[in-house]
Symmetry: C2
Subunit: 154 residues, 2 copies
DNA sequence: ATCGAACTTTTTGATATCGAAATAATAACA
DNA sequence: TGTTATTATTTCGATATCAAAAAGTTCGAT
């Protein structure tokens, strides 16, 4: 147990697992960020391009929901993608509050070229685990991500 | 499988597990950031104060290693903690390249007051998993965080 | 038809985060 | 003893990230 904390057994295990979760996620993220498959895209930029590739044009709000980022952050990320001519904005005709974000041909080519390499990089990162371990891990993470125990409305 | 990607079975599982890892980590982080136990501290600020509380004075470089952040980032984080009088810098006498970072009395009181609540918040987040599940999860995450398969020097 | 609630995006101001280059100090070694 | 390599921190410029407030749009309910 890598901690200097003295509490109940239950607390120590939770704290230890939390530290491992953070470290594993940060480490994987850092390794993937440096991978050639990311070119000069950030994780969020990559996530936006990937969502547009798989799902077609989306509003900024929808994109934010997909990649778990705030709306104000989406404005910034889309700004930077637009500067590089990878996406285009277009006010929605049906609901003028929304802005539809599209891949440009350049953006489409880029993400379609990078994505397969990205998958290979991920596959390699996870190759330290067997298929069964990955599935078991995914199950535990899913429970954690959903976080069902919500009886704490302070 | 929540993905729109067609690849080998192995790739799809790795990609799916990767997405779950990212989402679980982001979700937990976001919930803890909003918890009362964080007061107005960021995750990194909290991590620095916690390390200093448990380990005593450390150099910025050591702190960066502990919380997995770059040296230049540590300069910024320590700057902001210093502004709020929670830590103090002092050039090391033995090696004048280093800066020792200390908790001020205010900083010490703050982190000692917050830490137990932080542990409770983490314990609650992880209570969706049994003790055995948390231990199993920790084992898988440890392997992943270490990332042994390093035969990819391009 | 209008008023107010709800929704989408932007702006603003603060902090985080990195890599690269600059600066300063120590260590290695010839 | 110099000279070079290494190490620790800072600065700079770019991007990310959030919450809160502002601005514009739509919707609901009268």
């Amino acid at each position: 147990m890598g901690t200097h904390f003295k509490g109940t057994q239950d607390q120590m295990i939770a704290l230890d697992t939390y530290i491992k979760l953070t470290r594993a996620s940060d480490s994987i993220q850092a390794r993937l960020s440096n991978a050639a498959s990311m070119q000069s895209l950030t994780i969020s930029q990559f996530g936006v391009l990937e969502a547009l590739m798989h799902l077609g044009p989306l509003s900024q709000n929808e994109l934010g929901t997909k990649i778990l980022k705030s709306n104000s952050n989406m404005t910034t990320v889309i700004d930077n993608l637009e500067k590089r001519n990878l996406v285009k904005r277009q006010r929605s005709i049906v609901d003028r509050r929304m802005i539809e974000v599209f891949l440009t041909p350049t953006g489409k080519d880029l993400i379609e070229g990078l994505f397969p390499h990205h998958v290979l990089a991920i596959q390699e990162q996870f190759s330290v685990l067997t298929t069964e371990e990955q599935i078991a891990l995914g199950d535990l993470l899913r429970k954690l991500g959903r976080g069902e125990n919500e009886q704490h409305k302070e």
